[in-house]
């Protein structure tokens, strides 16, 4: 909502603004919803001027409706589908991650969320040759692991270092910093899109629950509002800048015995409206010994796929990537750099 200021539109003189302010009409909303005749009398301004000013302001500040066909055309032109690098995950997600949407990966600790995010990022920089902004709030990003994943995809050293340079990493540990970073990203994006050959196609935030869970609940009330600020920022970035936003979240115990095996995503019901697609990652059956086991992914929420379908995937030395362009003789090597 915008304050009425002098010069906000032709006809809004300082005198008029002052007169309106005396009558407690301070913002555009208040002017639009006030009774013009009454106001004209009280401010001793002519009815015609007020109506004209109001009309101009409404034209400036109200949203523009569009019809379904235009919307469809626009979506077709602007949406891209990014492959995850793993064929079963792609099929499961209806061919991949859609730009313009927020996708959420939920899971218990050690279920593979960070590995999935790393594999996604590597696939985007190696296969699609686009850039990725990776926002890390848990310290789980290890550049050696990224290098290892990239080495499985790209053979030559130059290609590897180029791919590494396409991943931008920011480490934030509190929510205000995250909001700063996202805002900077948004303003920086418009400057960069004209010059750069490849632009950022995905923003990965690992994890969002680490930042938000310490401010939710209890006597503090700003927690919810910050969560919603963040939600709005993420959705704006996804839609306006045509990027795919990927977030990770943790799980909490679900006493209601839902379909997810006794766990539900953290951050509560308000956050559950934010992502467009929600995927739950789980390890196989909990055995006594810790062995590498198959992991399952289950759809909890999607606008395109039926919910509760699951698929299995493995986390190997190549992360979740199954499509390999480099020579497949690359065994599960160590993380030492070749030079």
């Amino acid at each position: 909502m915008v304050l009425l200021r002098e010069g906000i539109c032709p006809g809004a003189t300082a005198q008029l603004i002052q007169a309106l302010r005396d009558q407690n009409v301070v913002t555009v909303v208040q002017l639009a919803s006030a009774d013009i005749e009454d106001l004209a009398q009280k401010c001793s301004v002519s009815y015609k001027t007020l109506v004209a000013v109001r009309r101009v302001l409404l034209a400036q500040y109200s949203p523009f409706p569009s019809n379904g066909a235009d919307l469809y055309e626009e979506l077709l032109a602007s949406t891209a589908i990014l492959s995850t690098g793993n064929r079963s995950l792609d099929a499961f997600l209806d061919s991949g991650l859609y730009t313009g949407e927020v996708t959420e990966f939920v899971g218990a600790p050690g279920s593979g969320k960070t590995q999935v995010c790393l594999s996604l990022a590597v696939n985007i920089v190696c296969e699609l040759k686009q850039r990725v902004l990776y926002i890390d709030s848990t310290g789980g990003l290890s550049a050696s692991r990224l290098l290892h994943l990239i080495q499985e995809q790209v053979n030559n050293l130059e290609g590897q270092s180029e791919a590494l340079q396409r991943i931008e990493v920011v480490r934030v540990f509190e929510v205000y910093r995250l909001l700063d970073v996202l805002q900077d990203f948004r303003t920086g994006f418009t400057h960069q899109v004209t010059g750069a050959r490849c632009s950022v196609k995905a923003v990965v935030i690992d994890s969002v629950s680490a930042l938000l869970s310490s401010i939710l609940g209890g006597h503090q009330l700003e927690g919810m509002s910050l969560m919603m600020q963040l939600a709005r920022e993420l959705k704006t970035i996804a839609r306006e800048l045509n990027v795919a936003v990927i977030v990770t979240n943790s799980v909490v115990q679900d006493s209601g015995g839902g379909g997810g095996g006794g766990v539900k995503p953290a951050l509560g019901r308000s956050w559950s409206y934010v992502p467009n697609v929600r995927v739950l990652l789980q390890r196989g059956t909990e055995g006594a010994a810790v062995q590498p086991m198959k992991r399952t992914a289950t759809i909890l929420k999607s606008s395109r796929q039926p919910t509760r379908i699951s698929t299995e995937f493995d986390i190997t030395s190549c992360g979740t990537l199954t499509t390999q362009t480099a020579s497949s003789q690359h065994s599960t090597g160590d993380l030492d750099n070749a030079d």
Binding site: S142, L146, L147, R177, D180, E222
Partner: protein, 369 residues
Amino acid sequence: MQRDLGSFPFPPGIRVKLISSGFQSAEDLSGVRATELSKELGISKEEALEILQIVRQERPGEESQLSARLPSARKYTALELLEQEHAQGSIITFCSALDEVLGGGVPVGKIVEVCGAPGIGKTQLSIQLVVDAQIPECFGGLGGESVYIDTEGSFIVDRAMDIAAAAVHHCHLIAESNQDEVQREAAQAFSVSGILSRIYYFRCHDYVELLAQAHLLADFLVAHPKVCIVVIDSIAFPFRHNLDDLSLRTRLLNGLAQQLISMANEHNVAVVLTNQMTTRFGQVQSSLVPALGESWGHAATIRLILRWEGKLRFASLYKSPSQKEATVPYQITSLGFRDVQSSELVSPSLNNGDNPRKRPRNDDDGDRE
């Protein structure tokens, strides 16, 4: 910029005043001066100035109270991060199998959580690590100082002396066998009293003291830049008794975890936490899981679970961003935390002999199981 004013770190009273005066986004404050703002909102001029500084993202050279603490959120490319990671080392545990599983040892800049039942060796591992962090660089260590935060009172100085003596002896032997001048000098300087003088010990009796200590630790680390490891033994104990409000506990723990990881990142220290175990009742059977709840599991970057199997002790890597899951045996001897000798896998606990010929990981080790 159309950034909403609710997303800036203002106190709630100020926020309410801003909104009720009609300021909704950063744009609305763009043409306003501090005096006008203070008159409009009914606050002091200093507060108005602070608000404007936060919104305009403080000009360089001028730091207000609120902005002085902000950590640098610089953007790195992954290539720069890789170079940084290679430059940082890891802290060895003297158990080469465990070091392999961890990818060289406890990494700097991350949080490692060690969980286990009582008596499995968590405190022994912690003491071993604070000694190992001080091993000079020419022997493959980091040559730094250590911080030990004790909440249970289980740090026994005599035991630390034994472990330190074993480490010193080990380094002397390496220096002698390698005949390296640099190593010999470093080994001379590396003594038990030196090691003990570089362990900073804090004792916290309840969770309030622990939280306060975590707050003060940031300044402490700035004053002592050589510290490279912070051990909190244990983090579960103060939060599990005398704290009835579970949601408060979750919030405090999450806030503490974020503080610790931000500290680990900024000051380049490794953070090691020890945790206890609890029983979770499943539908069919109950299982032993780390304490402090599901949400705490996300706090640690790397999770190690120590357990018994008959008479043997095993360490499993349960969660790691870059290493595969694995389980290795280990033992606790009079010298500290050590490998299990492969010929004695049957009864390792009887082996209290010294194995002075055991080499640390930077030498080629044939000690694979």
